[in-house]
């Protein structure tokens, strides 16, 4: 795992020193900075490195920091492949997936561009391999994504179901998650470097019999340079099990090259 992280960091350094083109800063990827995703992949041929850091203040249990990193590749038109991991402090206190150091693979395929009548549709398949601290069983998530715009306001819906293997008896072996959100470019048309985004979400809790986690997030993405986007987001889980987050913050950078 350490070797993987070193490789990713080296790749990122190469990206900042190398050639690039204008990154699509309005393209929403999971965790940058919200869990909300839009239906569009990065451009074919593009490589993007996304790194971040944040913390969560838990209602019960230890507060912790987390540091996601992911590399994305536009393999062919409309298909985006992802490889990443997330590191956390207090890794043994994490109930939910992914565990600190898990290997995360994903493939997002966009079916169409939204038009006057049709929204954009995409499907994303993710694999969470138990390579991290306390890792056990695989998680395979299938997510459907829909994006529909009304003038410059884009509304996004994510509906996912994660299949879990080797779960404990008191844990669910499958969970759904739903996210509904929107994004809007502040200052457009003359200024298109800031995108404001927000969502509400719910997901089934880890343990059987416990209520759904329900929360909300808000964030923004700001294009610093043609190939660098900075993001920041905050949120809260206002309903659900006792071990939920009262407040979380994440910030990060995306490099396209």
């Amino acid at each position: 795992m350490t070797r993987l992280i070193v490789l990713l960091l080296l790749a990122m350094l190469g990206a900042t020193a190398g050639d690039a083109f204008a990154i699509d800063h309005a393209n929403l990827d999971e965790n940058r900075p919200l869990r909300l995703e839009d239906a569009y992949p990065i451009a074919s041929g593009e490589i993007a490195i996304e790194i971040g850091g944040g913390f969560t203040l838990q209602r019960r249990g230890a507060n912790r920091g987390f540091f996601p990193i992911e590399i994305l590749y536009g393999a062919v038109p409309n298909l985006q492949l992802g490889l990443g991991t997330i590191l956390s402090t207090h890794p043994r206190e994490i109930d939910d997936r992914p565990n600190s150091g898990d290997l995360l693979l994903s493939a997002l395929y966009n079916f169409n561009q939204e038009t006057l009548t049709l929204p954009a549709f995409a499907v994303k398949l993710s694999l969470d391999a138990p390579t991290g601290v306390g890792g056990r069983g695989f998680g395979v998530e299938l997510k459907g994504i829909v994006t529909k715009s009304f003038d410059r306001l884009s509304v996004h819906f994510n509906g996912a179901y994660e299949f879990l293997t080797d779960s404990r008896r008191d844990e669910r072996d499958g969970r759904y998650g739903l996210v509904l959100g929107a994004s809007y470019p502040i200052g457009a048309p003359q200024f298109t470097r800031v995108t404001l985004l927000a969502d509400v979400f719910t997901e089934q809790s880890v343990d059987r019999g416990e209520p759904n986690v329900v929360g909300t997030e808000v964030g923004l993405r700001y294009q610093l340079t043609p190939r660098l986007v900075w993001d920041v987001g905050v949120g809260t889980e206002f309903a659900g099990p006792s071990r939920r987050s009262n407040f979380f913050l994440t910030t990060g950078l995306s490099f396209g090259f």
Binding site: F21, P41, A75, L79, S149, T192, R193, P226
Partner: protein
């Protein structure tokens, strides 16, 4: 293991699906569509205007459109303009905003004051010297939703444009001809690429019912757009004059001249500047690219004409239908061995990409017997600008000289 297999299967399915889409884009048969004119086309041609041809070789019928965004091709030249000629890079960012904002404005209003306000917003944007390209999907969301097919062609051709600027601004690439060939081949293999054939801009492509509407209704904005096209053309010949240091030395004079056009758009111009006029050397050495970019600029004019005629195309669907009948004329895939749009090719004997052919301007008979057309003043070559012999750009453009009786037409 089972899950890994599932992931691989889904990825392969996605790849094969994409490949199928691209393949069919080239191969869709066109039952009932030959290269000839339909009855309605012939009727309108007889009346002095030409109906949009029904798509030949497969059109764009449904609302289901694949996104197909492409990253700018990689190479040691990439981003050379941003590094070596940052002022020019910022000018190009401004131009990108200009096209998108115009389209979105015309979709919402035909009011002279509001369109003029949009023009001034574009000027403000350009003169703000933007360091980052605008996000055109956020500038023009309606236009993109209305006709993503044409957006793809614009985007991919603009990417080719920028790649060539980068190439000629890169001292790291010694064999520029070879790199050009590679970029050109990569560009042309995509289904949304514009043909490198010279098309009949002055005649067939400007004889549709809506042709010249944008020029005649919004002349100031139109000639401001043509000023962008003049700069985009003129830059190439400056780049061929030397290395980056030389380009850095010469480019400010060209940009200053262009700014004169922005301060006082050359409203006397009657037709867009052509690559062979502004950049004659580039057009001789790289004729395919010159033709592609002239075609690109003409396609911009065609689209703006459609957007300027809500009386002919009152709904977004009607505008979309019109634009998607014009677009196939330009696509490289329709100009292969079996050219489906020969009636839109530049006719033999016409001067390549010139205002009225060689020295002929101002009401001369042109284009193989088509209508008399006043081409107006000829935009200067960049060499005239560098030599200081071009007419001042921020003043009324001089009328073209009448040809002497001895000139051969």
């Amino acid at each position: 293991m089972v899950f890994k297999t599932a992931v691989v299967a889904v990825v392969l399915a996605a790849i094969s699906s994409t490949a199928w889409t691209v393949t069919t884009a080239y191969q869709q048969p066109a039952p009932g569509h030959g290269a000839g004119h339909g009855a309605s086309e012939q009727t309108q041609m007889q009346q002095g205007s030409r109906a949009h041809p029904e798509p030949r070789g497969g059109g764009f019928g449904t609302q289901w459109v694949t996104r197909d965004r492409r990253w700018q091709p990689r190479g040691p030249w990439k981003y050379a303009i941003m590094r070596g000629l940052p002022q020019l890079y910022r000018e190009f960012n401004g131009i990108d905003f200009g096209h998108a904002h115009l389209a979105e404005t015309l979709l919402k209003t035909q009011d002279q004051q509001r369109v003029e306000q949009a023009r001034l917003q574009v000027l403000d944007f350009i003169f703000s010297s933007p360091s980052v390209p605008p996000d055109e999907e956020q500038v023009a969301p309606t236009m993109n939703q209305m006709a993503w097919e044409v957006t793809k062609t614009f985007d991919w051709t603009h990417s080719f444009h920028r790649s060539l600027y980068d190439l000629f601004a890169s001292d790291r690439v010694k064999d520029k001809e070879a790199a050009y060939r590679k970029l050109l081949a990569d560009y042309l293999e995509k289904p949304e690429a514009i043909t490198p054939h010279r098309l009949d801009h002055h005649g067939a492509l400007w004889s549709f019912p809506e042709s010249k509407s944008f020029r005649d209704k919004f002349r100031t904005f139109n000639t401001q757009i043509w000023a962008y096209h003049w700069l985009q053309a003129a830059v190439y010949d400056v780049q061929l004059l030397g290395d980056v240091k030389k380009q850095q030395e010469l480019m400010p004079k060209v940009i200053a001249f262009y700014h004169g056009y922005l301060r006082r758009p050359p409203v006397e111009w009657q037709f867009m500047p052509m690559l062979p006029e502004a950049s004659p050397n580039f057009s001789k050495r790289f004729p395919e690219a010159a033709a592609i970019f002239d075609n690109l600029h003409m396609l911009h004019d065609n689209v703006d004409d459609v957007l300027s005629r809500p009386d002919l195309y009152p709904t977004l669907e009607a505008k979309r239908a019109a634009v998607l009948k014009i677009l196939p004329i330009y696509l490289h895939r329709n100009h292969g061995a079996n050219d489906l749009y020969t009636d839109f090719d530049e006719k033999s004997g016409m001067a390549m990409g010139q205002h009225g052919g060689m020295q002929m301007h101002g009401g001369m008979p042109m284009h193989g017997g088509m209508s008399m057309m006043d081409m107006g003043p000829k935009p200067p070559s960049v060499h005239d600008v560098l030599a200081g012999t071009a007419a001042p750009s921020d003043q009324p453009q001089p009328a073209p000289k009448a040809p002497s009786p001895t000139q051969k037409h």
